[in-house]
Symmetry: C2
Subunit: 268 residues, 2 copies
């Protein structure tokens, strides 16, 4: 049976990273591309419940892409249940422009959000992000010139292995981060999530009418442990592969939680 692969992202259907993900897996199976119509950064795994969704077809190189007026998670759902009419064997989300590192990224990233939705549907998923220098207004000028070769190589190889043998037990998603300077020679490290990537701060400004507004911002945490995704990518410049689980139940010492509930409620 020919494997079936769904590709999505959070940067929108026009992103060069989406095209690169398609090029990475071309020939590995029947490929379906379904992505948000517009950029959806930092939407996490949010879903559209109170508005109807629409879908449109458009060419993408030698393929057809479908755009959805919603989030990355909406795109995965529409891809599986409307376009493909059957769950695929693998979902690729990316290539995102910008890294998705640390526990912070897992719940805020639209790229990872789409992969979590795939996993929720029982489909193995790979989220792929490329760390780029902060480019400010030059972001769109440089987008076409990006070198996706290393990221494409990682996607193709991981996709091939996952299609052959699925993911190891307990792993729902592979979260892959590739520095933009990486080549096919760059080392690949198995990592865990850093606790967080940013120390948050908020900028206060005033508009021309004297009213306050605020920008949320952050500075990168400097001291992540050596086995974390954050250290491996930002310090070593290596490629990071982190296995993720959907199950956020804390792996507790049961006695500690029982004691807390006993203090709170007495014997139950």
């Amino acid at each position: 049976m020919t494997p079936r692969i769904l590709i999505t992202n959070d940067d929108g259907v026009a992103s060069s990273g989406l095209r690169a993900a398609y090029e990475a897996v071309r020939g590995l199976g029947d490929i379906c591309i379904v992505a948000p119509a517009t950029q959806q950064s930092a939407v996490g795994r949010s879903m559209t419940l109170f508005e109807p969704l629409r879908i449109a077809r458009q060419p993408l190189d030698d393929a057809v892409a479908y755009s959805v007026n919603g989030t990355p998670t909406d795109s995965v759902v529409m891809g599986m249940f409307v376009v493909m009419e059957k769950k695929p064997d693998l979902v690729i989300s990316g290539i995102n422009i910008g890294e998705n590192l640390s526990a912070e990224a897992v719940t805020t990233s639209g790229t990872i959000g789409a992969a979590l939705e795939a996993a929720n549907q029982g489909v193995p998923a790979i989220a792929v992000s490329m760390r780029v220098e902060d480019e400010g207004d030059k972001f769109y000028e440089t987008a076409r010139a990006r070198n996706y070769a290393a990221a494409r190589n990682v996607i193709r190889r991981l996709a091939g292995c996952v299609l052959e043998g699925r993911l190891p037990a307990g792993v729902d998603v592979l979260n892959v981060n590739v520095p933009c300077s990486a080549t096919v020679e760059t080392p690949i490290a198995l990592t865990r999530l850093a606790r967080r990537m940013y120390d948050t701060h908020v900028h206060h400004r005033q508009d021309p009418r004297g009213r306050s507004y605020y920008w949320v911002d952050g500075t990168v945490v400097e001291d992540a442990p050596q086995d974390t995704d954050l250290h491996v990518v930002t310090r070593l410049g290596h490629i990071s592969v982190t296995p993720l689980t959907l199950d956020m139940t804390a792996p507790i010492d049961r006695a500690g939680m029982d004691a807390l509930l006993l203090r709170a409620f007495g014997s139950r």
Copy 2:
């Protein structure tokens, strides 16, 4: 030192559930209420990065509430860094109208998203949701008549314990679900997350101009294991307390992942 408590939600600053959360902890410390200006369901932990945020003051019973033109996560950040100017000792998110059960809810719920953001900032958090019957258009008529007594009792008792002794090691958030029929006598169970709550399906309709549109929907999974939040709340009608971690690194047999990477990339 008087404890400092930040209250937020995802139903918006006008929700009766937000008022109930405030009533639950009134007197336990200095309380600050910061919530989205409008309902933000299913936004997960999404953040506003590309639009400025604004904040407004309004009375809420005998307190002042601040509304933010953004997500629950934005509200937590603005509450900590702008309104309180210092991190609080505890964040309460809720009371949400509608349950937040299973791994699916953790990454899609705005109520839990706000609690995850608090945890990301190093602050213990309690997310509280109330399961209600599906009310359709009657939702807003019945909202004022809700009985929050059991949920208020759980919040006050858990908040008191967490403020006294923090959360057990490895626990970042308590996710609490209360059936709307619960009383102060209803049993309270320590649970783990069910894998998922819904089997997804998508409805296809056509608008009056003959164009397709879609609603994402789902039917509740019937066979969740007995120690899960889903079973305890929907089958037994008990109150569920689930400890959550921010760290979604899969607790893997390292050999399985190493073997996958070796197959994919050869020796690294």
